[in-house]
């Protein structure tokens, strides 16, 4: 941030770690919660306060809930016009607060809205923003070391914003552990005034259609993910994967090729341009293992690959695998699981024959 004359302000003026709090329908987003935990860790190392920023309308409960995750305080800007997230009014609120309070670090969850906001804001403030971070550290000078995947997930880049303040970063979902919630945690809730109203609004939300949760869990939340790729050949074959997922208590996902072919909606796409998942088990079925897909799942605890090409790249990162025809293997897998479950469930007959 400059002092208005393109000269970068003295960074010692900037203190405090901020977390942008995002909610939908009066529930805090998971990534905001995860960031409070990580923000706490950074703030402690910097010897600074951890503040949540909550623009919205009638968000008192949300603010209190947020404090319970470990914030020292929450700054609330309560205006009807902020009821739902909108780029321009939210950016105006954040810019005003940042100029007013001069935090050293501002963290956003890398949700769609978080990135929408951070992108606009960093240009307005002319300060550094590192996107989609998976780790944070501090360098020898106390600058925030913002670590993010790069080059298609093959490397980790360390981004520093040495002279400009605040240092801003968006953090990837489901990478940082959510902190425990303590309803007795105390903290300040500050209401601040920012001049933002109807004339700052430049877009209208006409309609919101929530994705229905039929068909089980969402991949980012599941412990077991059954993911299908181009080898599935047809959309209807995903039903077979759903069957397996239901049996194991997991969620179905898809590779980009499967999504591009119209077999699964985009929100189930795993990969560099889809979502990143780190389940306990990731089944890659009919997936060749292109670099962009691996970027989205290579940190899964265990990976099981099923593919009829023994040379498929997916086998390089698989813990277990079968080389063969998935149209035979998956139904067989389902059948054998059912069988074993059945033998377990049946109690031993008292009188054996």
């Amino acid at each position: 941030m400059t002092d208005g004359e393109h000269v970068v302000e003295d960074k010692s003026h900037f203190t405090g770690v901020w977390v942008f709090l995002e909610g939908r329908k009066h529930i805090l987003r998971d990534v905001s919660i995860q960031l409070i935990g990580e923000g706490r860790r950074i703030a402690d190392r910097r010897g600074a306060h951890l503040t949540g920023i909550l623009p919205g309308h009638s968000v008192e409960n949300l603010a209190r809930q947020a404090i319970g995750y470990g914030l020292d305080r929450v700054i609330v800007v309560d205006r009807p016009v902020l009821e739902i997230y909108q780029s321009r009014p939210y950016a105006k609120v954040m810019a005003t607060l940042i100029r007013r309070h001069k935090p050293e670090i501002v963290l956003f969850g890398a949700s769609k809205n978080g990135r929408d906001l951070g992108g606009r804001l960093h240009a307005v403030l002319e300060t550094g923003l590192a996107a989609d971070c998976v780790k944070f550290d501090l360098d020898e000078e106390g600058n925030l070391d913002m670590i993010r995947p790069s080059f298609g997930g093959k490397s980790l880049a360390h981004i520093l914003c040495k002279r400009h303040r605040p240092q801003m970063a968006s953090a990837r979902r489901n990478v940082f552990l959510p902190p425990p919630h303590d309803p007795n945690q105390t903290g300040e809730i500050l209401h601040e005034e920012v001049d933002v109203n109807e004339k700052d609004v430049d877009a209208t939300l006409l309609e919101f259609q929530e994705f229905t949760r039929e068909g089980g869990l969402r991949p980012e939340e599941a412990r077991i993910v059954i993911s299908g790729g181009y080898g599935l050949a047809e959309g209807k074959n995903f039903a077979m994967l759903q069957e397996l997922a239901d049996l194991l208590g997991g969620a179905v996902a898809a590779s980009r090729k499967a999504v591009d072919s119209g077999w699964m909606p985009k929100e189930f796409q795993v990969g560099q341009t889809g979502m990143t998942v780190r389940p306990e088990v990731y089944f890659a079925i009919g997936i060749s293992g292109a670099v962009q897909h691996l970027a989205g799942m290579q940190e899964s605890e265990k990976i099981v690959a099923i593919n009829n090409d023994p040379k498929a790249a997916i086998f390089e990162i698989a813990d277990y695998g079968i080389v063969g025809d998935l149209f035979q293997i998956v139904p067989e897998f389902v059948r054998q699981i059912r069988e074993r479950k059945a033998t377990k469930a049946v109690p031993m007959p008292v009188a054996a024959r």
């Binding site: 780029s87 949700s111 006409l206 077991i224 099981v304 079968i322």
Partner: protein
């Protein structure tokens, strides 16, 4: 009297082809010259959306980019696909710019072109994947932004766009001029045509502008005026994998796999 022609500016970036990502060990940056390159796929999706608008109504599509002269390859492809003209902002002083100077420089270029109704960008690039430049341009120009869209509808002076959020689909409406960032894969970019490629060869269709041509302040661009730097790059350390692969008859292989998964406690029934 038909509707007035829209002026749609599409920001594109040339990136190394996905499989060809190569890091220059000396500079720790991506090699851009001498590697197979393509239009950043989400930008190609954005351009396709713009061309689809042009298919349906009077519109002028201008592709712009900021980078070295090798980026002409992508601008030529854009014009070949159907864009009316192209502008490359190219200047050595821009080297090393992060998303702050990039958003600024592109905004100034867009202002110089002037009279625009929509600015389309891909949601992010495949090489840097920040997604900052589209919203950054909107911030600079102080115009509406709608990110992560897959569909555009235009009525008179308003734009409606379908946005993909994590938990559902949103329909937004705003006025022009505005910035829209486009989802990767939401369209199938068309191939260049003969007429398009002929247009590429016409003088003046693709122009190069320097920072001086546009009126960009040298103190706001380039490596030394970029708030962020890449301090270092580590290779990712992935956990070693057991690679127990089973072959043979489906029944056998599945039984072995199931045994292994249960024994190792990977799944429980």
């Amino acid at each position: 009297m038909g509707p007035r022609p829209l002026r749609i500016i599409v920001c594109i970036k040339q990136v190394p082809k996905a499989q060809e990502l190569q890091v220059d060990p000396k500079t720790q940056t991506l090699k851009r010259v001498g590697v197979p390159s393509e239009i950043n796929p989400p930008d190609a999706n954005a351009l396709e959306l713009a061309l689809q608008i042009k298919d349906r109504r009077a519109a002028e599509v201008i592709v712009i980019s900021m980078g070295p002269t090798v980026f002409d390859e992508s601008l030529e492809r854009g014009v070949g696909m159907g864009a009316d003209r192209a502008v490359l902002l190219t200047d050595r002083i821009l080297g090393g710019s992060d998303t702050v100077p990039t958003a600024y420089a592109l905004s100034e270029t867009i202002k110089k072109i002037g009279d625009f109704d929509m600015i389309l960008c891909g949601e992010e690039t495949t090489d840097a994947s920040t997604g900052h430049v589209g919203p950054g341009i909107a911030g600079h120009l102080d115009i509406p932004q709608i990110t992560y869209i897959s569909e555009i509808q235009i009525e008179d002076d308003s734009v409606r766009a379908r946005r993909t959020a994590e938990d559902g689909t949103e329909w937004w409406e705003t006025t022009m001029p505005c910035v829209l960032t486009v989802n990767f894969g939401c369209t199938k970019p068309r191939e260049p045509t003969l007429l398009g490629k002929i247009r590429v060869k016409r003088a003046g269709v693709i122009v190069h502008w320097s920072c001086a041509d546009v009126g960009i302040d040298p103190n706001k661009v380039g490596l030394k005026n970029s708030p962020t730097i890449v301090a270092k790059v580590d290779t990712v350390h992935l956990p070693p994998r057991a690679r127990k692969v089973f072959h043979g008859d489906a029944k056998d292989a599945v039984a072995k796999l199931l045994d292994a998964l249960l024994e190792d406690g990977v799944i429980a029934l």
